[in-house]
Symmetry: C2
Subunit: 407 residues, 2 copies
Amino acid sequence: EIDRERLVRLMREQAAIGATEDGGLDRLALSDADREVRDWFLEKLDVAGLDVRIDEFGNTFGRLEGSDPNASTVLLGSHLDSQPNGGQYDGALGIVAALEFVLTLDERAITPNHPIEIVNWTNEEGSRFQPAMQGSGVWAGAHDIADEYEKADADGETVADELERIGYKGGAPASPQKEYEAYLELHVEQGPSLETAEADVGVVTGIVGFTWGEVTFTGEADHSGPTPMNHRSDALVAAADVITQVRRIPGTLGERTVGTVGYLDVDPNSVNVIPGEVRITWGFRDPDDAVVERAFETVVREAEHAASREGVDLEYEETMRAPSVEFADRCIDAVQSAADELEYDSKRLISGAGHDATHLASVTDASMVFAVSEGGKSHSPEEYTSWDDCYAAANTLANAAFQLATD
Amino acid sequence: EIDRERLVRLMREQAAIGATEDGGLDRLALSDADREVRDWFLEKLDVAGLDVRIDEFGNTFGRLEGSDPNASTVLLGSHLDSQPNGGQYDGALGIVAALEFVLTLDERAITPNHPIEIVNWTNEEGSRFQPAMQGSGVWAGAHDIADEYEKADADGETVADELERIGYKGGAPASPQKEYEAYLELHVEQGPSLETAEADVGVVTGIVGFTWGEVTFTGEADHSGPTPMNHRSDALVAAADVITQVRRIPGTLGERTVGTVGYLDVDPNSVNVIPGEVRITWGFRDPDDAVVERAFETVVREAEHAASREGVDLEYEETMRAPSVEFADRCIDAVQSAADELEYDSKRLISGAGHDATHLASVTDASMVFAVSEGGKSHSPEEYTSWDDCYAAANTLANAAFQLATD
Ligand SMILES: NC(=O)NCCC(=O)O
Ligand SMILES: NC(=O)NCCC(=O)O
């Protein structure tokens, strides 16, 4: 069993970096706060006696050699970046739990026969730069590194420049250079189902698929007073139509389908000017890839209808499409048997959030451990997981990882 | 007749201050660019030999004494502030035309028996700080100066601090200290009706009334993936509902009613976060105050419906209510007879935009001259008035003002 006190201390240390006034975290990918928490992570890797490796995309690895020089590597990871005003557990708990596992091995002088690596993936959140799970996607070969370097935030800063600026564009190749035995990731559920089932821990069997995109409507900025209603092409009216449809579409598609417009930007954004240009995003998710495809087709059709009704132009782009993933039985079983041995009440579930494990599942066998999210809240300062639940999940991860690392 | 070449030169000089790349103007009230154009205005008042007076609210006057020491003052004015990306003519043409009138009197050594003042009003646009027509409203006694000093922009900067910062919090009382004979204002129409009627110049008989307001919806920021559709309180969905209603309401009220949501701000504004808080503005206008009142009641009711449908909280505030105004016959007649004597084709109309003349009409007899807006475009870099039309309107103003200043 791991050290509960140290787990709490490590969680508190990281949560102090990028802390917001209302108890949340503002640690956007490749920001100054991200640099600071990455520096903290390097220090912890050093304390744990791991060999550090930073790749060209900023993914940062710590490696512990196994007793068998030919054995394949067990990889544990998650992310330290956050939403603009996100919670303290999202991502960070997975990193801290992995650290806690290797610190416990070190303390007890246990060397499994498989080597162990722990990794902090670059830009999991996808808030500042899209797509989400960008670093793991590059590493797993789902995206071309040159394309991802050029992705820009709302101010036009690129990933490549920001990696350089914070000093985390490393020298190691951003791709698997050895054989991996398995990938495990601990994360908070970010939804209500473990709490509803009164479970101690979640055994994750897969991840939903998703489509993200961006629509820009271009109408005509004009004076909101003397311009008659029938002379208007109001970009915000078209965008509002789409927002209403995105609220409706999931109910027409599937039981588990969700759809959201999370981002909207208006130009010029003045009380007495008809909006000339409006940009919105869409996001739809479902365990069934065919449903995701239908959601994509539907939202594009609705955006076209909205544009034509209001007489505005439209451009759209799908910024991310992730297929749904089913994890490997042997990894799911390792998590399940760890939870069972520890006598935790567990619940099997499909993740409604995307995770780096999505991409890792194409490189090696993967699975995840979920910690209970109270009230199901996440991407908000109100995100909360009790220390009991943090501990249960971290213990499950450690025991599952130990199983996979020991033949 | 005035000097057409000088009119063009003055227009070009002011348009260089705060010029944007796409040919527009960014000269928000009390910004650095506003300070610069105010400095330019002071210089021109000086050249024209006028006595300068800056009041406590930054309204800036130049005074030319008349031959009769007991005669009441004829006031000519408009504004030099602009929208975030506005046009070159909106406001500025009225200031330049007033300057051109006094420069012409000076050149010809004509001294009317009435004194003449020209004025640049603070914050006519109402974009950075609400309400619009703020400086003239304070001066005319429609608003309390202490309240208006405290109005803040989106970054929390107040009018009082910004007036201090740019050095335009003057010492003169912000209220009429003498008797006024009349107020005349030249402005671009900002709508399509003069162009449609093929008129050279507009004779303005009144101004529509309006209501402006702000609604804030507060839902729950949460993760857009694992949060089921029926667990959501999405502030942007409620806002979208209201935007759709604002597009519809004018058609249910009156032929001349217009309604607009020009501003929208989302928090946290991230592709994968359910919007927790959204703020929108409304604006409705109509020549009939009873219709404006109905629009206000309707939009509040719709916002309440939208909030209850989506399960979000709402707060609203009416930030501005201006009654419609009918100008005094003797001022309308002065403008009409000036246009007729100059053999311009004129059209009488009610202004769909608000103007400082709204407030001045409560202090003295007022009217306005409109210049043709090509394509009716305004509050946009595409705003355009030909030099012929600028000249026709400025000439009409000069002749009407001369009539009123000479008994
Ligand atoms: N787990 C998580 O919040 N990932 C970010 C990408 C997503 O929106 O699912
Ligand atoms: N004329 C003008 O654009 N005034 C600003 C206030 C309004 O929106 O009418």
